[in-house]
Amino acid sequence: MDYAIIVLLQVVVTIANLALISAGLAVIFGMMRIINMAHGEFLMLGGYAALVSHQAGLNLWLSIFVVAPLVVGLVGAVIERLVIRRLYGRMIDTMLATWGVSLALVGLITVIFGNTVAGVSPPLGSLEIGAYAIGRYELLVAGVSALLFAAGWWVLARTPVGLIARAAMQNRDMAAALGVDPARVYAATFVTGAAISGLAGALIAPIAGVAPTIGAAYIAKTFITVISGGAAILAGTLSAAGLLGAVNAAFSFLTGPVLGEVALLACAVLLLRLLPQGVTGRFFRRSL
């Protein structure tokens, strides 16, 4: 029984982590159709922002929840202004440009911090269930992930900002003809996506550590999750993370983490073969 509870909690944590690290990409790709190849580096920057500010003496929670999203949001604002804004509507060009940004960020951070893994111990200790234990911090991260998606749904469904964002996403020209400046909406969306990625990177840094090249470890999984989810940003990311995360966690338990990753990729290939439009192309079509 204890083992079953621990396995269940671990599956939930894996799903939540996958959804969390995919959320920023889902916002930018889902709303702007921009394939942000620098998404992994936004996660990495979030980790470094939290780590550096904490090592400088700032409270860990402030470093994670305030500094990291602010810093990466600011970096996102600069990249949007200098690079992305000139390339809206040109998917391949934005992909290449953000790939260049990705390489530049990896190089810059390697020069500053060196090519080593840094980290901070996860706070809060562990929760013991019989003979087994799971980190309380991991459960907190899962809770934050759930809250983040709930907040995202509330903003999109219930606020004027969400209404404007959804309309601009569906028909940019008509939104402009009715009085909304699409450039401002797109800039705000990109910055929001970057800030969410920064928060996600900071949250997982105490669990996974941080290194200049760690973005590469996340980018494939996050892209697969967002693409497998389909058009609906929140429902798609959540459903794909639920399916792929569960497969990943189950196979990791049964066979080890390497085959867990292989199972995740195989499941994604099968999913996209059966549902080329992603999960929300068939199910939850009217969801956000």
């Binding site: 004027p160 209404l163 404007i164 959804r166 309309a167 569906q170 028909n171 020209d173 008509m174 939104a175 402009a176 003809a177 009715l178 009085g179 909304v180 400046d181 699409p182 009217r286």
Partner: protein, 222 residues
């Protein structure tokens, strides 16, 4: 007094010129129709006026300000409404959300959404339905109601009767005439349906090969 004065307007798509030396004006509360065969530049004229394409020459004075080089959202906020051909409803937003968006985008109070739903009774039973699943006629009424939610002083209407049934056509005529009478609304109407044009327009201009060829009263155009 003119609410819109266009002079020497030229516009097109890239190197392809469509409009040449177009000039006309619309008085406050006037309904001006533009007739012409397909491909003569009628929709391009409305796109140039709404800001969807920028003119290569000429002036567009709207309420006294030259808006020729302004982006579409600035023109909309000045009170220039645009109902494009094909309606361009936001398919994933409900009827009410489509209208609320227009009110939010223009800074109009949200109460206008309920006012417009009351003006267009056909929208009442479908306010919570997604725009993408509506019939062509319902979408046309929604497109017009959405535009009116932004409280425009001039509406650019592009082929509003395309693909809709006569009863809806009559409803649109009735509502536009009422709005003109009550609010002094001005309308620039591009249309190929002569009955609709004669029911609505005070004056008709004929467009040929990107130029305005001649003006006539609606009865003469018919």
């Amino acid at each position: 007094m003119s609410i819109l004065a266009v002079s020497n307007l030229a516009a097109g798509y890239g190197a392809i010129g469509v409009l040449r030396d177009v000039g006309f004006d619309i008085a406050q509360g006037e309904i001006l129709g533009i007739l012409g065969h397909n491909g003569m530049g009628k929709s391009t004229l409305l796109k140039a006026l709404s800001g969807a394409i920028l003119p290569s020459a000429g002036a567009i004075l709207f309420a006294g300000a030259d808006i020729a080089q302004e982006p579409p959202h600035r023109r909309a906020r000045r009170g220039l409404g645009y109902v494009p051909q094909g309606r361009q409803i936001f398919p994933g937003l409900t009827v009410r959300e489509n209208m609320a968006f227009a009110a939010r985008a223009s800074g109009a109070p949200l109460v206008i959404v309920d006012e417009m739903i009351a003006r267009f009774p056909r929208l009442q039973p479908i306010v919570d339905r997604a725009g993408g699943v509506l019939s062509g006629g319902e979408q046309q009424i929604l497109a017009l109601a959405r535009c009116l939610c932004a409280k425009p002083s001039l509406i650019l209407l592009d082929e509003p009767t395309e693909g809709i049934q006569p009863s809806i056509r009559d409803e649109i005529v009735e509502t536009l005439l009422t709005l003109r009478r009550e609010l002094g609304l001005s309308i620039l109407l591009v249309e190929q349906n002569l009955k609709f044009m004669t029911d609505l327009a005070d004056r008709v201009l004929h467009m040929e090969k990107g130029r305005l060829a001649f003006a006539a009263p609606p009865e003469a155009a018919a």
